[in-house]
């Protein structure tokens, strides 16, 4: 024995007796002591009566300890199936003892989530690729939207131009009589005003009303065709609105599918992580 023990480092007592712990170690195996300790003990055993007596007492003590009566067991400690069934949830599972009981429902939940995920994924794929489901519909609608949108935009611009022209014409039609009336009134006023100066000599100029008509007010121009004249207006054309609503419906369908699938994947990952790590945590806590 290598004696790092404090008791063995104690010096011999004043009467030369060795520490009892050192004697005990020497009693078990003298060769296990260091040469120095062995020499100390042997020196004390040879010359010191107290050490000799202590050594004899220790020897007797170990002899009596070894001779202590054996004991009979009160009965068999074999485990019965009922003992086992009280400690494990499933007797058929050899490792069930070490896993927490709440793992079992988690396993079932994970299996259910996996099956559900497969079903959802299959349904999604079938509806998209075989039956031309939301994906295909949305793609075609997107294409039709983009094609239709260009066409609609062109038509809308033409329509806006026509509307602009018609607005101009309408303005002209609407403002001409008014202008003529105003011109007449102005003529009358001027005629009245200048009647004293040149009564009957002043005649209204035919071009006066025309000058007013060819320069319609900006308000009339912008008021008549602000919506249909812009290219954005094409996107809100009736055909475009249908396409957009179809697209948004297909987008909604897609997002629902994706949400369900993503949720199932997340749920499955969480359950698998629980199945893997909970027993380990359980064992760590038990150990």
């Amino acid at each position: 024995m290598t004696n790092n023990d404090d008791a063995f480092d104690r010096p011999l007592s004043s009467d030369g007796a060795a520490p009892v712990e050192l004697l005990s170690a020497y009693l078990d195996d003298p060769a296990a002591l260091t040469a120095e300790d062995r020499a100390r003990v042997e020196e004390a055993l040879e010359h010191d009566a107290a050490t000799q007596r202590a050594f004899a007492e220790l020897e007797l003590l170990t002899t009596e300890l070894q001779a202590l009566p054996d004991v009979d067991i009160p009965g068999s400690f074999r485990l019965s199936p009922s003992d086992v069934s009280t400690v494990e949830t499933s007797p058929s599972r050899s490792r069930a003892q070490s896993t927490p009981r709440y793992i079992e429902p988690i396993r079932w939940a994970a299996a259910a989530a996996a099956i559900l995920f497969v079903i959802v994924l299959s349904a999604d794929l079938v509806s998209n690729s075989i039956l031309g489901g939301p994906d295909q519909a949305s793609n075609s609608s997107i294409e039709s939207v983009s094609e239709g949108a260009g066409e609609d935009a062109r038509l809308a611009i033409e329509r806006a131009t026509e509307a602009e022209d018609s607005a101009s014409s309408a303005d002209q039609a609407a403002t001409a009589p008014q202008m003529e009336t105003e011109a007449e009134e102005a003529d009358q006023e001027s005629a009245a005003g200048v009647a004293t100066e040149a009564s009957g000599n002043v005649t209204p100029e035919p071009g006066a009303s025309g000058g007013v008509v060819v320069s319609p007010t900006p308000e009339a121009y912008t008021f008549e065709a602000p919506v249909e004249a812009t290219p954005e207006a094409a996107l809100v054309a009736p055909e475009s609105q249908e396409a957009i609503s179809a697209e948004s419906e297909s987008d909604d369908g897609q997002s629902i599918w994706r949400t369900i699938e993503f949720s199932l994947v997340v749920l499955l990952a969480v359950l698998i992580a629980l199945i893997i790590f909970l027993p380990k945590i359980h064992r760590m806590r038990r150990s």
């Binding site: 024995m1 290598t2 790092n4 023990d5 008791a7 520490p19 009892v20 712990e21 050192l22 005990s24 170690a25 078990d28 202590a54 004899a56 007492e57 220790l58 007797l60 003590l61 170990t62 009596e64 300890l65 070894q66 001779a67 202590l68 009566p69 054996d70 004991v71 009979d72 067991i73 009160p74 009965g75 068999s76 400690f77 074999r78 485990l79 199936p81 003992d83 086992v84 400690v87 494990e88 007797p91 058929s92 599972r93 050899s94 490792r95 003892q97 070490s98 064992r283 038990r286 150990s287």
Partner: protein, 225 residues
């Protein structure tokens, strides 16, 4: 499919018996075969109960602790590494000793009252003395052992376990280190301190000191004679 394969494998396995290797029993017990575990119980129940009884010095408590230790061992079988010769016994005794210590601590007292009951139960198991020992020496040795048993109960938990396992049950330092989870040097230190403390306690009691001296004198006489 799994169950079919498992049944097929079980049918091909060797039948269990008292001669089955311990590692095989452990392996089959880990697979859930209760009979294999019960054969391990048969092999080690004596050792487990003895350690529990020496440690607790109460036969009822020792029986409870031993049974509990086997149930705990069965529950924790998958944590046991079946790769050492005496590993299972050491592991089982470790569970037993820990359980005994837990119970003693929970009771917050040292069981000394039932020593007589324990000795009364086991009186028939006292080994006969050597043929040459007279009735007086036999009686004195028996009385001295009672004092020793009492003194063991007064030792600290770690020293008591070391003395029980090494001097009484005869385990090696390495095995005790495995059972207690301590280093071999620590085990030796506990053992030697425990023995020194036992001797001190015996010499401190007048009756025990007288018996100690008398038996020692008789032994010396027998050796010299």
């Amino acid at each position: 499919m799994f169950f079919v394969l498992r049944r097929f494998r079980e049918e091909r396995e060797e039948p269990l018996g008292p001669d089955t290797a311990e590692s095989e029993l452990v392996s089959r017990a880990q697979q859930g075969q209760l009979e294999a575990f019960n054969l391990l119980v048969d092999r080690h129940q004596q050792a487990a109960y003895r350690v529990a009884l020496r440690y607790m010095r109460d036969s009822d408590l020792a029986a409870d602790v031993t049974q509990d230790a086997f149930i705990r061992a069965y529950r924790a079988l998958d944590t046991f590494r079946n790769d050492r010769g005496n590993g299972f016994r050491s592991w089982l005794l470790r569970i037993t000793a820990n359980r005994a210590l837990d119970v003693l601590r929970s009771r917050a007292r040292r069981p000394a009252a039932s020593l007589e009951a324990m000795l009364g139960q086991t009186a028939s198991n006292w080994e006969p003395e050597a043929a040459e020992a007279g009735p007086t020496e036999q009686a004195e040795r028996r009385a001295l052992r009672e004092y020793i048993e009492q003194a063991i109960g007064e030792l600290g938990d770690e020293q008591r376990l070391a003395v029980i396992l090494y001097d009484i049950e005869g385990y090696s330092y390495d095995e005790i280190a495995e059972i207690t989870g301590a280093a071999v040097g620590t085990v030796k230190s506990r053992l030697h301190r425990g023995r020194a403390r036992l001797r001190e306690m015996l010499l401190a009691d007048p009756g025990a000191r007288e018996l100690y001296a008398s038996v020692l004198r008789l032994s010396n006489d027998a050796d010299s004679g």
